[in-house]
Subunit: 255 residues, 4 copies
């Protein structure tokens, strides 16, 4: 199980959320929380928006907790919109190309979950990617394949609909291949302006998703990053969250 | 342009050929030879056969010349059959999964050359890989795709014919996509018992290939590893080389 | 807290002990045992003896659990004497030079423990290293400094006495600097022929040390690598273990 | 021989100087210039000043030319003052801790050159570092040792005098050890406000140093980064360059 964080709001140092809090993502990467036994030491990534339309990206195969570069970059870079992800691999290799978030054009995408039976249907999932996007396929993860397929399903026009459409196609391939394992999908997406998050699974047990709004802005996380449980709102299963640059998040039924 | 070396014969330390000679592969990786301006600093790999049917593999994204582990492993491991490769990337990322040699089952494969227009026909090349081998696709290089496709073309039964068949299919895809750049292919293959090497291109300018037989055994290289020019035999263009565990290399027309 | 394993006996594949057992070192690196909350993801190392007097060494900054090279090298290399170590850093950086085991000449050394107040007395510990060995100082760990100092204290002549002498000097520096934290030292040493292990601390709470003798040979570990508790003998605190190439381990009072 | 670049002026993207020019530092790292046969593939580093007094730092052991993170960070980060360095190792290991620039507090330091006989006098050079700075000694290079020693020689009060004082001490140690090789030192230093550069050697053959002033600001380089030779001013041997945040560089006799 991976862990992630997305932020949108007043420009803040990335480290303020990714490194500083008592249960920050970097902290979580090493110190598993109660009942969650995994370590997230199979690479990490940070994506952020600065002055350009395209995001910056720093991804590395080392664990987040010991990377001096990650600490320095997140302490120096102030951003109004950023993603961070620490990975626990589920079968694919630990390479930079398999680290989240993924960036294509002005979009960033990251994911916690798994396509059941992925190794058997990987090729069919990849077949959903159109030719002009296929060159962006740099790694082997299910997440990258879903992202590229969703771009073809109209991510630029209607992101929520595009993701839902892609997930439906993935599910259809799973059924076709007689996969019994579930599709679990908790993810975050941005085009550099709006932020979307998704929590859905085929077995009603999607990975957790929380958000918090405070004076600075909106924080969306796989798990709370501090002990103030009351500040965090759980996103119910099969819902999506949508938020504009300054507005409040809106939850909608999804999937 | 990449550089490589293959050895078969009396068990010797890998370093005896890969690190020790005055123009060893590790030396070549840093110090470009006359007229060859490239540095081979985009990762490297060593594959060798020991007691198991499957080869060992050590591949890394750092340059070969500064890797202490490579030095130590090659100084310690004695092998009757090994491959070594230093890479100069031609468009694909520097990840372990993109480093040669590639291993599947008891086979090892490595390559110097390039499929013209690869980025435009990558998907069609990958379509040559059958489902049961597709999971072995860990990177994005043309070399790995050719290797997996050739396995499907009967590499276990008739390696030379299988490689020729795959190259013909690749050429057909290039023509179909109206690619003008050539297909250049100088490669080495082994099943742990026999050694094959290939030198072919669609424009009659395949990368160089040499071999030498001495008291220890057979050495096949992209370029000579010492200054004794007379000891090295150039493999003519559009030829393949084949050698059994103890026999002399046989050259045949190829392609 | 780090974890380590040393083996001496009939030549076996390194993976047979380092990767295969249910609680193998690689398994332990990711899945913390009961009551031991740490992950050992701050680099690893394997040192082994083959045909040369000097050991081979493969050390890397990535976690052991995801390194394909480690898996391949340990599956291919058969050795009569090898060390393996997975690291949890205690303040020093995650670099290869800070990964155990350390090799100088024909010796290998690895350690689990910590010099209390090391950051305050690092320089004084390094002052114990003679000029001719100082160039071997490649990293910043307390372990490497102790090893180099012990070499100067006669490791080649009387290893147990040399280690005891160095530890006494380190303790003296700690006292001189008014360090209150303990010196905890559980370590393994070999010259390629004999194997020594040490369990000592200034506060009577040295890290654990176990050994097992079976049909193949002697295994010395920081923690048992399988669930057969009865097969493992705990080395009591303030004892050293000594074993020749074929003999049984002998325990002696130490420190 | 290493290569470096320092910039001070109007905030610009780091990539504008480090990646974009036809002979940018990243380009130089792979493609050796005429008469300079070395590749700078032994790690790299970028240090920059943003909103904090302390600089950001991104250093990596891979070659600069293939690092996606370097490209992304330098394209995103705009800075009024930054250093970049590509390394060709001269005997010390390729680790992050041995990559320039070095940062202590608000200072950045980088270097091209070499202390003759360093391996024989490393310890004496390190003895110039006071206790309270010794913990900052993370690697094994001569550059880092000189930097830490110069901090003790009053870098904060009078940087030029401090560097000169340290170099004099280093020279004295070389003479004392009967070292015949020269001390060559071309370096850049900043406290986040002022920029200093130095070109000095004991044999009147210091590595080259150039600067250019344009509409944006001041660029100081080991070699010109474009083909407009007339725009670049060579700093004569045994001179230092000094520049405030907005002023013109002043050259003075040095050493």
């Amino acid at each position: 199980m991976c862990r992630f964080l997305a932020y949108q709001g007043r420009p803040i140092f990335i480290a303020d959320l990714v490194a500083a809090p008592c249960r920050s993502l970097i902290h979580q990467s090493l110190h598993a929380s109660e009942g969650k036994t995994e370590t997230n030491g199979d690479g990490f990534g940070v994506g952020w928006y600065g002055e350009r339309a395209e995001p910056g990206l720093y991804r590395e195969v080392r664990p987040a907790w010991s990377d001096e570069n990650l600490r320095s970059v997140t302490e120096q870079v102030r951003s109004r919109l950023f993603f961070a992800h620490v990975r626990a691999a589920t079968g694919t290799a630990t390479t930079r190309a398999n680290c989240h978030p993924y960036a294509v054009g002005r979009f960033l995408f990251m994911h916690n979950g798994q396509i059941g039976g992925y190794t058997r249907i990987r090729r069919r999932i990849e077949a959903l990617i159109p030719d002009d996007l296929y060159l962006q396929r740099g790694g082997t993860t299910d997440t990258e394949a879903i992202f590229l397929a969703a771009l073809a399903d109209g991510l630029e026009m209607d992101p929520v609909r595009a993701v839902a459409s892609t997930l439906a196609k993935v599910r259809a391939e799973m059924v076709r291949a007689d996969v019994r394992e579930p599709l679990r999908f908790t993810a975050a997406l941005t085009d550099g302006s709006h932020l979307w998050a998704f929590r859905w699974s085929s077995d009603h047990r999607p990975p957790s998703l929380y958000y918090r709004q405070d004076a600075n802005g909106l924080v969306v996380v796989s798990e709370p990053i501090d002990e103030d449980a009351s500040a965090w709102n759980a996103v119910p299963a099969n819902m999506s969250l949508s938020a504009g640059p300054s507005g409040s998040p809106v939850l909608s039924a999804f999937g």
